[in-house]
Symmetry: C2
Subunit: 112 residues, 2 copies
């Protein structure tokens, strides 16, 4: 995954509406634009724009069937980001850093 793609994925995930759409597609794949417009208080065009971004980020893949466009979740990019980003932080370090602020605070407090 190239840097530009990574950026698209993060940007796509940055919006709560788009995350909701991903949640919805996870529960049920193959939904049309019309389906996805239900339960959202924004216009169809707004949803379209979100889906375009999600598709550009490869988080959603689509299939045209006649006049309909079916949407499916593709969780692979998210997984890739985990492997590339979060996977960087070794598990041992995580716990250590989790306690770091507290430790340093007390250390600092001692000095004062």
């Amino acid at each position: 995954m190239v840097a530009a793609d990574e950026d698209k994925v993060f940007k796509a995930l940055a919006d709560a509406s788009r995350r909701q759409l991903l949640d919805r597609l996870r529960r049920q794949g193959g939904l049309t634009l019309g389906d996805l417009c239900q339960k959202h208080d924004m216009s169809r065009q707004a949803v379209t724009k979100h889906l375009v971004l999600l598709e550009a980020a490869n988080l959603v893949v689509t299939v045209k069937r006649g006049r309909e466009k079916l949407h499916y979740l593709n969780p692979l990019p998210i997984n890739e980001i985990y492997m590339r980003w979060i996977g960087k932080f070794e598990q041992k370090q995580v716990q250590a850093l989790f306690n770091l602020k507290q430790a340093l605070k007390e250390n600092d407090h001692d000095k004062t």
Copy 2:
């Protein structure tokens, strides 16, 4: 983690400069604002703003030591998001969905 916090984390990760800062803090913790300004062609105040957002998202924790402010990476929120978001997608499903577009494309092609 509350929904509002989740949003902060995603928004914080949406910017490439902030991701770079996190990368830098991962390589070396305890850097000051001045340190973090090096190798970035933006003003000190721009970096400050990024760090404020990262701290609000709890991706960075800080300790004041005299007139300096030391910054440390806190990877836990990212990990939480993985557990809550990416962990949702079972591994089996991942591979299945990975091949879905191709399969559906061929299926659609047959019908045409």
